[in-house]
Amino acid sequence: MARLIRTEKEVEGRFEEVWIVVEEDPLEQWPAGPLAVVGRDAPRKDGHERVRGEARYTADIKLPGMLHAAVLRSPHAHARVRRIDLAPALALPGVRAAIGPGEAPGLAEEAGFSGAAVAAVAADTFRQARAAVEAIEIEWEELEVVLDPDDAVRRGLLTDEEPRRRERGDVDRAFAGADVVVEATYRTQTVLHNSLETHQATCEWQGDTLHVYISTQYIWGIRHAVADALGLPEDKVRVVCEYMGGGFGSKNSPDEYTFVAAELAKRTGRPVRCALTRREEHTSAGNRNATIQRLRAGATSDGTIVALEGEFTNSVGWTGWNASTEGPMQMLYDCENVRTVTYGAKLNTPPMKAFRAPGFVEGTFGLECLVDELAARLDIDPLELRRRNYASSNEGTPFSSKNLEECYRMAEPHWERRHEVRGRSDAVWKRGVGMASQIWYGGGGPPSYAWVRLGSDGRATVITAMQDIGTGTRTAMAQIAAEELGLPLEHVEVVLGDSARGPYASISAGSSTLPSMGPAVRAAAADTKRQVIEIAAQRYDLEERVLDIRDGTVVSTDGNLSVPLEEVVGLLDEAQILGKGARGPNPTGMSVLTFGVHVVEVAVDVETGEVVVERVAAVHDVGRIVNPLGASSQVEGGIIQGIGHTLSEERLLDPETGRVLTTSLDAYRMPTIADVPEIVCEFVDRPDEHLTNLGSKGLGEPPIVPIAAAIANAIRDATGADVHELPISREEMLRALREADERAREKEKRGAPAAV
């Protein structure tokens, strides 16, 4: 039965109170551990298509008569269009239409950052469209540019009406009573998603229906946003995304390129493709915003953390949201006295967009470095300090499941290696081991729906209008359906990627794909199986309760019946059985979170400041693992992206003009295969008994959360230096080493007998 509930919905750490219709889910969870299909390694269902270059991405879609759009972008960080003349563009060869500010959502007269979209042209070729954009005559009125986040906060230039303040206990009194207080300022840089397929859409009108082919993480969100912006009924917008070349949080909304393509398609009567170039991707497609974190922790000498305080400034940019950088400080440890304030600075810089655990990646770097600095001051083992401050509830709310203690236990052999690793240091290369814990969301939620179609040949197809951003979605959904239906994996296909071909499905962000969609797919498969059993019971005159499907065969538990599934469903001739399923509600009154720990080994060249990550052991607690092979790929990918974030990636702005300086991939340095350390990946793999019929949480984001702090803590272990800034460039490393040297000399002086 459908049930209307008022509930808190979480996406990417942002909460809102919403009405949701949920359907009860009566299925019991499967037993823990590997089953027939679920819990076993499965190569990707769509592996061959992708590897052989047959998979069709948005970038590969070429419609008859398709035109190409190019976008004029502001060179100024803050300016208003005083005059614009599109006529010179329209006079050029191949040009079919041009639009200016106000003529499509996302094209604005006021440019709030260098790279903001102003006008666009459609032409027969992209080259012609680019030439036409150059020919547009435009006069700008330059406005005041604000680039400094502290300056913006002082002046009250915020993205929210108020800064976000959270406080519990008596923080000032707790600090006054602490035996040890550590304090530090951490800074993290702006980094770019750099999905290899740039942001893009191809739009085509057929009658009054708009067909949108788009590289997106959220088919239904695009449909809703486009219909809303253009004043169309939602069923007059069809959104298609069968394969996409990465998103990492940046492709949740339609943005200017979609609206430019839709409007130019309308004006020309032809399909229009609007694709960002790599350089536009660096100026205009979003980023993980920079942060400044002024943190303080107080503890008693026995290692009890009694007070935590943080002032967080997110350099949000012209648009974007104020992510919960304070989240880890609020939730990771059992501390009664916590006070945080988080400012979202509105700046004339390119917009923040969600990027793989937004806020928590940055906040975990600050907090987990601070905790290790505290451990050093207290002379307590960093793992022991974390155990002593273990949170058994989320400020009184029970966790649906939390196995961080088990993660710590599994991490012990990796942690033990530190004596041997340090011993391999020499005069130049210092080696050490560091750790950091991980907390993040990833529980998903309703609504999400799926259908399962079972044909008379005994093969099933999962149908749902979700997207696969490259995490192995098709494979995991097929595994779940195969397990429930009692079919071999190769007898299950998955159809997704088209709003016109399947029911509503949730966003592929916030590590929610598997925990949101998996239970709906299992419910649909169960509904299908129920119908098969009902038919078989009538056909063979047996009770339903003695019948089951195993490995494609309908069997009775007494062993008397064993017939191939296609014999039963074959009765239907060409017809099919259709099952439907919905994602049930999340457990009420519980916090659903993911946990983990990373143990990292580094080598630091103390002469040049070069840092090499040599080994990463990652232990994660995300409930049941559906596909261990795919899960290990997620962990490795998150760690490698995190190593880039920690050591080499930084989007630089000209401090005078606010223009992006790192617009190409030689200036913006992402990890290559040569930068990859040994990675060991382990899972607790216990189903969350309170969470859905599956007990699985998401894994896309958790592995990128603790890596930066674990690297920084390994550097401290190796050298005694406290790094406080990302990326840990050679300059930052050498600065931290000099500071550590000075500190050691000071200590020596103080420790030495006073000179006469």
């Binding site: 992708r50 590897v51 270059g53 290899l196 397929e197 990492f248 790599r278 991939l665 290559t672």
Partner: protein, 146 residues
């Protein structure tokens, strides 16, 4: 427009294209060989890698009219054992860089059928994978002969 003669995956093509057109553009737009991806279009990421006479070449910064020799794209390598090795090892996530990875890897193993991890890292460092499938790519190339 200027005449362009290309041999691609064993087939000969005579086309007209403006001088200055990139090989990647011709492959994708004129010949419909969309397995070759363009991700940066300025020679930094390796997604567009093809082989010319067996040598990896960045097709997005190669002028089509300057190509002499046989072009091999991912479409010409679909039966290569590396494809199975990549699938088996899970050396694919979003898949956008993967055809370029396979083309680079095929050139490597043709010249050196038993590469060491160091040799793999050296040969493959020009192919960026933002999803971070690198450990699995290394595993796929190490085990490509089955």
């Amino acid at each position: 427009m200027s005449e362009l003669r290309l041999t691609v995956n064993g087939g000969e093509h005579v086309l007209d294209a403006p001088v200055g057109t990139s090989l990647a553009h011709v492959l994708r737009e004129e010949l419909g060989l969309t397995g070759t991806k363009i991700a940066c279009n300025e020679g930094h990421c390796g997604a567009c890698t093809v082989q010319v006479d067996g040598v990896p070449r960045l097709s997005c910064i190669t002028l089509a009219h300057t190509v002499e020799g046989e072009v091999t794209t991912i479409e010409g390598l679909r039966e290569h054992p590396l494809v199975e090795a990549f699938v088996r090892a899970d050396a694919v996530q979003c898949g956008y860089c993967t055809p370029g990875q396979v083309v680079s890897a095929a050139a490597l193993v043709a010249a050196n059928p038993d590469p060491t991890p160091e040799e793999i890292r050296h040969a493959m460092a020009g192919n960026i994978c933002r999803c971070g499938t690198y450990p699995k790519i290394e595993e796929a190339i190490l085990s490509w002969q089955g």
